[in-house]
Every structure is written in C-alpha cells, then in structure tokens.
C-alpha cells in the first residue's frame, strides 16, 4: 500500500509541477519549479530502478539545465530592464490578450488532451510484460568488457549511438560558440576568501570524484556521463569564481579538450575496424581496456562541453 501511495504522490506532484513550471505567471518561479521538477524526476528514475539515470538527471537534467536557464533568465531580464527602463518582473505571457488567442488556446488545449487520450490508449494496449532485451544483454555481458549492463550497452552494444552522441555534444558547443560570446561572471575572489578556500579543496575532490565515477561505471551506476557531469559542475564553479579564466585563455588547449572525446572515439573506431573488420568492434578480450580509454577521453570532453555550455558562448575577452 505504501509504495503505491508513494508512487501515486510522486507522479501527481511531477505532473502538477510540470504544469506549474511552464504556466506560472512568474517566470522566475517557473524556472525554480522546473529545477525542482528535475530533482523529483531523479526520484522517479530511482523508482524505475534506473540509478544511472537518476545520477545523470540530477546532475545534468536538473542541475546543469536549471543553471543554464537561470543564467539565461538573469541575462534576459537585465537586458529587458536596460532596454525598456522598467522592471520586467512578470514576463509577458499569453494571458487573455484577445478573444482569438483565447480561442486558439482552448482549441490547442483540447487538441493536447485528445492527443494525451490517444497516447494513453495506445500505451495501455501494450503488452503488460515486455520481452525487452534484458536477456540478450545479460547473455552478452561477459563479452562486453564491463559488468554494468548500462555501460555495456552504451560503450559496446550500442557504442555507435554514443559516438554520435559525443558528436552532438561537440556540435552543440560549436554551435553555441558560433552564436555568441560567453559572459564572464564578474567575481573577485579576493573579496571572498571563504569561497576560495572552499574551492581549493573541493575542485580537486570533484575531479577525483569524476574519475571515480568513471572507474566505477564499469561495474556499478556511473560512467563517463555522470563523471563528466561532475567535472562540468567543478568547471562551472571555477568559472563562477573566476578561477577558470586562465584555463580558457589557452584556446587551442580548450578546443583540444572539447574534441578529444570525438577524436579518440573515432580513431578507436577506425583502429578497431582495421583490427577486427568491424566498426567499433573491440578485439576479443580487450574490450574493457578500450572502453576505459574511450571513456576517459569522453569524460574530459563531456565535462568541458557541459561546463562551457554554462558560459553560453565562446570564451573571449571584451
């Protein structure tokens, strides 16, 4: 009884929070609700027995995405105020401007509800017990080089997906850099000795933590993405405090760091192709080592990419 109650409450709160986050009159509150939604979703992932994803969601889905949106909001507000000379407390929403708009809202609402109904009808018609690929994955797990099935899928069974995904990450940062110059948080550490002393030992700790997550990912929840997210968090901290400035001045180094995931992954794929005749088909018995190398490179790229996404643009002095 209690688990059902817990699930029911969680689901209800998630749905309600999603609605609130997107339709709150106060945009700022909406963003905060959105971040909270991410945390609750991480709980939902746990209930769905997906601890890998709970980690990723908490760090990336809620944490990083929330931070991105929040900083964008602050930037936009500041600009709105500068432009209009008035506080833009309540963002312009679709509220009751005219009848046509209301009508289309009602129409779209009806459409969305109808869509939801259809989707539910289809989803509930699915077989109650799915076959899934659990059996296949577990049967091949011993050959995969790792013991965590999710990592096995990510870096061996469907490694090609992951290769493209690392590509997407790189592409995202290239696209963002092409669009904007990043904005530097103006922080002076001399005024904040406490923060400085905290960062002095927290940043290395986070880096070690990222490495640990990478290592443990072979057998337990964790891996390059979760580790990368941690690294990204460290980087965001460093950027916020102004510590990362010196690093970012070294453009080529940063770019190499961003691309090393794709490069190592791609080259590994090509070498494997020459070795075994299959794209990303690791030589027998060496899969574990290959995966570790690829993941290590990917970790650096993921961490840098996600962290620099926070900057919202290419580094460069004004």
């Amino acid at each position: 009884m209690i688990p059902q109650l817990l699930d029911g409450t969680l689901v209800l709160v998630v749905v309600a929070l999603a609605w609130r986050a997107l339709n709150d009159r106060d945009l700022f509150r909406g963003v905060i609700e959105f971040i909270a939604l991410g945390l609750l979703l991480a709980m939902a992932w746990l209930r769905l027995r997906a601890p890998d994803l709970a980690l990723a969601e908490a760090a990336v889905g809620s944490g990083l995405t929330g931070a991105l949106i929040l900083s964008a909001l602050v930037r936009m507000r500041r600009r709105e105020q500068a432009a209009a000379g008035q506080p833009a407390g309540v963002a312009t929403g679709p509220w009751a401007k005219d009848r046509a708009k209301n009508f289309s809202r009602v129409l779209l609402g009806a459409l969305s509800v109808a869509m939801l109904g259809t989707l539910a009808w289809a989803a509930l018609s699915l077989p109650a017990k799915a076959r899934g690929l659990t059996a296949e994955a577990l049967a091949r797990l011993p050959d995969s080089g790792v013991t965590n099935p999710v990592t096995a899928v990510l870096l061996n069974f469907r490694a090609y997906d992951t290769l493209l995904e690392i590509g997407v990450l790189l592409l995202a940062i290239v696209g963002v850099w092409a669009l904007r110059r990043g904005e530097w948080p103006a922080a002076d550490l001399r005024e904040r000795p406490l923060l400085l002393s905290l960062l002095r030992w927290v940043l290395p700790l986070l880096a070690v933590g990222a490495g640990y997550l990478l290592w443990i990912g072979a057998s337990a929840p964790g891996g390059a993405f979760q580790g990368g997210a941690l690294l990204a968090g460290a980087l965001v901290l460093a950027l916020l405090s102004g510590l990362g400035r010196r690093l970012l001045r070294r453009g080529r180094l940063v770019r190499t760091g961003l691309t090393i995931g794709v490069l190592v992954f791609g080259v590994a794929g090509a070498v494997a192709l020459g070795w075994t005749g299959g794209l990303l088909q690791y030589p027998t018995g060496q899969a574990g080592a290959w995966i570790l190398v690829i993941e290590a490179a990917a970790l650096v790229s993921i961490g840098l990419t996600l962290g620099l996404l926070y900057l919202g643009g290419r580094p460069g002095e004004k």
Binding site: A72, A130, L171
Partner: protein
Amino acid sequence: MPDADPRLYLLAGLALFAIGFYSLVVQTHLLRRIMALNVMGSGVFLAFLALALKAAAPMPDPVPHAMVLTGIVVAVCATGLALALADRVQALEANEETPAPEEPPSAETGSEPEDAG
C-alpha cells in the same frame, strides 16, 4: 520495496509530453518554450523507462536506460543551443527598441586568445 507499476509512470510520462507540447505551442516567452521542450523530453524518457521496467527480469532492460542517458545529454545540448540562440534573438529585439551596441561578432573575434591554429 516492490517495483512500481510501470503503467502509472508511463501515463505520467505521456502527461508530461502533452503538457510540454501544449505549453510549447501556447507560450510565447522563449525560456518557457525551451523549458517546455525539456518537459516534453522528460515525458518521453519517463515512458521509455517505464517500458524498460516491464521487462524487469531479473533487472530492468538496460537498453532503454542507455537510450535515455543519450537522450538526456542530447536534451541538454539542445537546451544550450536554444538558449544561446534565444539570447541573440532577445538581444536583437531589445536593440530594436533602444539601439545599444550588443555584441556583433565582429567586435572581438580577432582577439580570441590563441587563435593561431
């Protein structure tokens, strides 16, 4: 603690998808629309994982888990890109009201550090 009922989470995922879609179409503020996309995405992920739980013998299907992890990363990339773009657009609209110089790419590209590649 026994497993959750996958159908419950499946429906929740679909609900998030519908809410996200409705808000995406109805809302006008760029940030809200970007959040709406994220909510839609979360809905899809929820559905994926709920379906993975249906094949839970002896453990949930790892393949959708990997897919969702990929999806989460893609989603954050999308968010980053969309925010940068939205920011440029908003800067542009703010400029149209009061013309203030707002970063044309020309101003600083040359000074990007260590350009010599």
